[in-house]
Structure formats: C-alpha cells, structure tokens
C-alpha cells in the first residue's frame, strides 16, 4: 500500500516582529542623548541634582594636570591646555553672556584644578556654573 506523506507547512510567525522592533526604536530614540563628551570619569555624588540645560559648554578635567577637554555645547569635546580656557570661555561669553558652563571632573581630582577653572570662569565674568554629579544612593 502506498502511504501518502502528509506535508505540513511550518512557519514562524513574524508579523509582530516589526512591531516589537519599532517599539524598541522609539524607546532608544526617546532615551538617547547625543552627548558632547564621553570621557569616562567617576563623578562625585550629590543628593540634589538639577537638569543641565541644552547647549551648555563642557569643561572636562581628565585627570592630567594642565589639560582639559572642551566643548562649546554642540561639537564633540577636544583636548586643550588649561591656558586656552581663557580664550575659549571668553569667546563663548562674547556670543552669549548668560552661557552655562558644566564642570565634569573625577571625584578624586585635587581641588587645585577645579580652583583654576573657577578662577578662569570668574575672570571671564561667567555666572552660570553646573558641577556634574551622580545620583547619591542611600
């Protein structure tokens, strides 16, 4: 007797795949912040934290004394000497006298480096400063 093979069509349901994928896209689009600086530093912790406004200039202390990373707020940060900071901050202050400046530094940075940056900012008549911190976990 000849037995006819019954062929069962198998297929993986992929109709909802794109739904899931687009859901993930939306999530990443919402959470993505195109940062101007990706220097890996251990930030100091604070309980009180305020959102830093957009297009804020970044002054990053990388740990190497005399060197900083700078971004005026739109482009990726680049290496500069601390002495260049007078000119960089001055240029930004000319464009916008209410410019915000963020200081991003490792928590173990000796205060003398922060003091130097404060000195430059004060001499350039900068007013709005943010110290970048991490959420303090209790």
């Amino acid at each position: 007797m000849k037995v006819k093979n019954r062929e069962i069509k198998t297929n993986i349901p992929t109709a909802s795949m794109s739904d899931i994928a687009f859901l993930l896209i939306v999530f990443f689009m919402v959470t993505t912040v195109f940062t101007v600086d990706r220097t890996d530093v251990k930030l100091p912790q604070s309980e009180l934290r305020l959102e830093v406004p957009r297009n804020t200039a970044y002054i990053v202390l990388t740990g190497v004394e005399g060197m900083i990373k700078w971004s005026a707020g739109e482009e990726m940060s680049e290496d500069y000497s601390v002495d260049d900071l007078y000119q960089l901050v001055g240029m930004e202050m000319q464009k916008n006298s209410n410019k915000y400046f963020v200081i991003k530094a490792d928590k173990a940075t000796p205060y003398r480096q922060i003091d130097k940056v404060f000195e430059i900012l004060k001499e350039s008549y900068a007013k709005n400063i943010y110290l970048l911190t991490q959420q303090e976990t209790i």
């Binding site: 173990a108 000195e119 004060k122």
Partner: protein, 155 residues
Amino acid sequence: MNIKRNESEVEIPTSSMADIAFLLIVFFMVTSAFAATRGLDYLLPPKVDVPENIEPEEAVHIKILADTSILIDGDYYELDEIQSYLKPKLERNPEKPILLQTEMDAPYYRMVDVLDQLKKVSEPVEKGGLGIPMKHLSIPTNKEFMEIMERMGLE
C-alpha cells in the same frame, strides 16, 4: 463559456521591515549613551574689581582640609552637622554670608558633598531641606582668599 477568474492575493511586502527596524535599533544602541546630565548649580557672583570689605566675624567660614575634615569657624564638624550649625544663624539673619574654602590638595568630591549640604538648606522642608533661603553663599578662589587675608593683615 465560463471563464475562471484568476484570483491573486494583494499584499504589501513587509518581510524586510524587521530588517530595517533592527538596523535602526542597532544604530541607536551604538550611538546612545545614558548620559549624566544633572548636577549642582552654582551661581558665581559678578566679578568686582574692588571687593567690598568683608568682616570675618560676620561670615560663616567653612574650610575643607586636605584630609577631608571640615572646619567651620575654627571647629571640626561632621558633614551631617553642617545644617544644624547653620540653622540658628540663618534663621536669625538670612543675609549671613557663607564662605566655602577648599584646600588645594583636598579631593573634589568633598567640596561637592559640602556644597550639596549647603544647597539643601534652601530646599523646602518636605524635600529634606531646612526651607531657609541662603542668599550669600560664595566659593572664593584661592587667589581671592589670599587677597582677603592680605587685606586683613592675616597670613
């Protein structure tokens, strides 16, 4: 004659949709960084070429030493004691100036810790603060401190 209709199913090709979507996901995963964009704000006072005379007994002088200990008006205090020290003084006079000085070799995080405590003084009580507005908090630079000391005839 009966002509049989050739019924063809109409559909939009969506098989590549998932490929495109996953490609976009990979792009966003690679480019995204969960950035820390929050911090403590600090308003620098405007630079005055001829500073006003500061009477030392009127201001609260907080000094952070290189070994991270905290001196307030000459006495040692713990971090969580700062608010209770300032409370009666600020209640009596909210205009009281507070000077925060950090030694050059002290770690940055200690200054942030103290600044966090000072900023919380002005926060509402329900948010863990004291609800007392602090009007004159200043962080003079080392150079400015030297100038103040010089003017007062101290070393």
